[in-house]
């Protein structure tokens, strides 16, 4: 009888323990408030101002977490290089992997391998395919561009007119999503006529050339949507050279800070507005803290950071408040 009781107890406690293990296992293999942690961040590339902005934000904010050491690697806009970096982070045994994949599918196997090896993975701005990551932090390109389109259709061109789009790098997913989102947004006003769409590969100099030609071909363009702030800066130069800086309303995307960023351009009245693409740096680091220091057993899987419209109403005060 005693033996039976003991066995039952043993089995019951084992079942309880394994149940607790399944439900309450921390996401990180090693966690707790007393260790130091290395976070490896594989950035798609260091060339785009937006990505530099993300790096700066992360570096600025990580100082609030004395236990974290942040290492940022440049993926050089090459999937091969970025895959190598993820592999190298694994060799270095980083405690948490953050990544903005340059392209989704090619990075998926190495990120999945890291995740399956027990390293928590936070994806920033872009996702890999499949489910093998701990959490995603980012914005919704399509929604942001759609919001820009709807706002422009209602506020900037309520009476309609000709509009143009300067696309990013064709074939890159954010470029495609922003293009489609904006088209969907301005469709809410049938009086707006989209007369020209051209790729400028996210580049300012390309935007100048392309938008100059567009203004030659369509002198009545009243609105241009650009997929990033750099292209918006290029569009402004072209409009100014054509003597049409007042006629053409420019919308940027990213809302970068600093003297050469979009917030200032709006504050100075060069553009009508820019829509921030959030970096998610603060949210990502907070997640890392939950996983590594608080030993979280569960975190939200998708954290969508909303966009903020920067227009004449708020640009000046935002620019004044910047810490850069």
């Amino acid at each position: 009888m005693k033996v039976v009781l003991q066995t039952t107890l043993l089995v019951a406690s084992a079942a309880l323990a394994s149940g607790a293990w399944a439900a309450g296992k921390p996401l990180a293999k090693e966690c707790g408030p007393n260790n130091d942690y290395v976070i490896g961040f594989s950035q798609a590339n260091f060339k785009e101002p937006y990505r530099e902005h993300v790096n700066h934000e992360l570096e600025r904010l990580v100082k609030n977490y004395p236990k974290f050491k942040l290492v940022i690697a440049d993926g050089q806009a090459t999937v091969n290089t970025q895959v190598s970096q993820v592999e190298n982070f694994m060799t270095q045994h980083v405690d948490l992997l953050m990544i903005s994949p340059f392209e989704a599918a090619p990075l998926t196997p190495s990120v999945s391998a890291a995740y399956k090896a027990g390293v928590p993975v936070i994806e920033l701005d872009r996702k890999t395919s499949g489910d093998n990551y701990t959490a995603f932090v980012g914005g919704d390109n399509r929604a942001i561009a759609k919001e820009a389109g709807e706002w422009a259709a209602k506020t900037l061109l309520p009476d309609g007119g000709e509009a143009a789009i300067l696309e990013g790098l064709p074939s890159s997913s954010p470029a495609i999503e922003r293009l489609e989102g904006f088209k969907a947004g301005i469709a809410s006003n049938p009086k707006i006529k989209l007369v020209a769409v051209q790729p400028v590969d996210w580049m300012e100099d390309q935007a100048v050339t392309v938008f100059s030609a567009m203004l030659q071909a369509h002198p009545d363009i009243k609105l241009v949507y650009t997929s990033n702030d750099l292209a918006a800066a290029g569009a402004y130069i072209a409009a100014k050279q054509a003597g049409k800086a007042d006629q053409v309303k420019i919308i940027g995307t990213d809302g970068l800070p600093g003297p050469s960023g979009g917030i200032r351009a709006v504050a100075d009245g060069q553009w009508a507005a820019t829509f921030t693409y959030p970096t998610g740096a603060a949210q990502a680091l907070e997640l890392a803290k939950k996983i590594l220091i608080d030993c979280a057993t569960e975190v939200p899987r998708n954290i969508l950071v909303p966009t903020q419209r920067i227009d004449q109403a708020n640009a000046k005060s935002l620019y004044g408040k910047e810490k850069f």
């Binding site: 260091f46 290492v71 690697a73 440049d74 050089q76 806009a77 090459t78 999937v79 091969n80 290089t81 895959v83 190598s84 970096q85 592999e87 190298n88 694994m90 060799t91 270095q92 045994h93 392209e103 989704a104 599918a105 090619p106 998926t108 196997p109 395919s129 790098l169 064709p170 074939s171 890159s172 997913s173 495609i176």
Partner: protein, 345 residues
């Protein structure tokens, strides 16, 4: 320099087998040894293990250079023949896109897809070679144009988009066998590297042990002499570009398989890494002399260098500076030692 004839001759006039000449001949192997030693010395350690030498890390290094390594094999032939091919990165992109679109969007079988892609690469290269030879346009210009054309074609083939490769049966899926290029043998050795290795052996044999290899060296060394001795110079010159087209196609297939992905923008700048590997490997940019083993060692060295710098969290800027410095040193060593040979004549 271009008026002083031939490195085949140079080789003959370079009898002083000084230690320096010998070392420079195998400079990239020497460089590889140096980089690996530095890697071991400066490698981060964990529980006493040298991370740089961990099997996984070595596998990562040789995987990272598999595609540019494959490109550099063909590039060695072109440069020995006193040419250059700037189009290989773009042709790699084109072939990765073609592979993806044929398998996924067009529902072609594996072998028909691979045959067409390889044929595309070979024909693309051969056309560049033919234009350069027949119209006497410098290969630099022709392949620069070829780079643009290949990028344009890949945008058309991909319909301005990237193509994800999913595996399975039925329309919209690639045959699962194609996914093997992304696998690792025994969980360690990357299949992509195996492709590089096999091609490297074939390329080394072709260059060192066949009549074709000797013809390429002869054409690059002194075209006129080669013609007078009955070598089909034009055919040889066209063939080396067909060869780079071939390796670019293979690298493109490896790219598509390795990353399950075809993108018209991929492979940008790969031509420069391939050329760097060839130069570090000791092949003379004026043609007529070169070493396949040197090229292979050069390619591995660049990968090992990038790896050890990354493992130590050295900034991206410093990595570029280091690579640049090594290219200059390699070229300077060549000119210094080979240059002495020329002036001694």
């Amino acid at each position: 320099m271009s008026t002083t004839p031939t490195s085949t001759a140079t080789a003959a006039v370079r009898p002083r087998n000084s230690l320096l000449t010998y070392l420079v001949r195998f400079q990239s192997l020497l460089g590889l040894v140096l980089v690996v030693s530095a890697g071991i010395m400066f490698s981060p350690r964990r529980h006493g293990h040298i991370l740089f030498l961990a099997p996984d890390n070595v596998a990562n290094i040789i995987r990272s250079i598999s595609e540019t390594g494959i490109l550099s094999l063909g590039m060695t032939f072109v440069i020995i023949a006193a040419g250059i091919d700037l189009s290989v990165g773009a042709v790699l992109g084109l072939c990765s896109v073609l592979t993806a679109t044929l398998l996924v969007n067009e529902g072609w079988g594996l072998w028909s897809t691979l045959s067409l892609v390889v044929a595309t690469g070979v024909i693309f290269g051969a056309i560049q070679g033919a234009i350069s030879t027949k119209f006497r346009i410098q290969a630099f210009i022709v392949t620069l144009a070829g780079l643009q054309v290949a990028r344009g074609l890949s945008l058309i083939a991909s319909n301005n988009s990237f193509i994800n490769i999913n595996y399975g049966t039925g329309p919209g899926n690639a045959p699962p066998a194609f996914g093997i290029l992304g696998e690792r043998i025994g969980g360690v050795f990357p299949v992509a590297t195996l492709v590089f290795l096999v091609l490297a052996v074939v390329a080394a044999f072709l260059l060192n042990n066949t009549r074709y290899g000797r013809y390429v060296v002869a054409v690059g060394g002194n075209e006129k002499a080669a013609r007078l001795s009955g070598i089909p110079v034009s055919a040889i010159k066209i063939s080396v570009y067909a060869l780079t087209g071939f390796v670019a196609a293979i690298a493109g297939i490896v790219h598509a398989g390795q990353f399950s992905f075809g993108s018209p923008n991929d492979g940008a700048g790969y031509e420069l890494t391939a050329i760097a590997a060839v130069v570090i490997g000791g092949t003379d940019l004026f043609g007529g002399a070169g070493s396949m083993i040197g090229t292979i060692a050069g390619a591995v060295m660049l990968g090992a260098l990038a790896n050890i710098l990354q493992l130590n969290d050295v900034s991206a800027a410093m990595q570029l500076l280091a690579t640049g410095a090594i290219i200059v040193v390699a070229a300077a060593l060549q000119t210094y030692v080979v240059g002495r040979g020329v002036s001694a004549r």
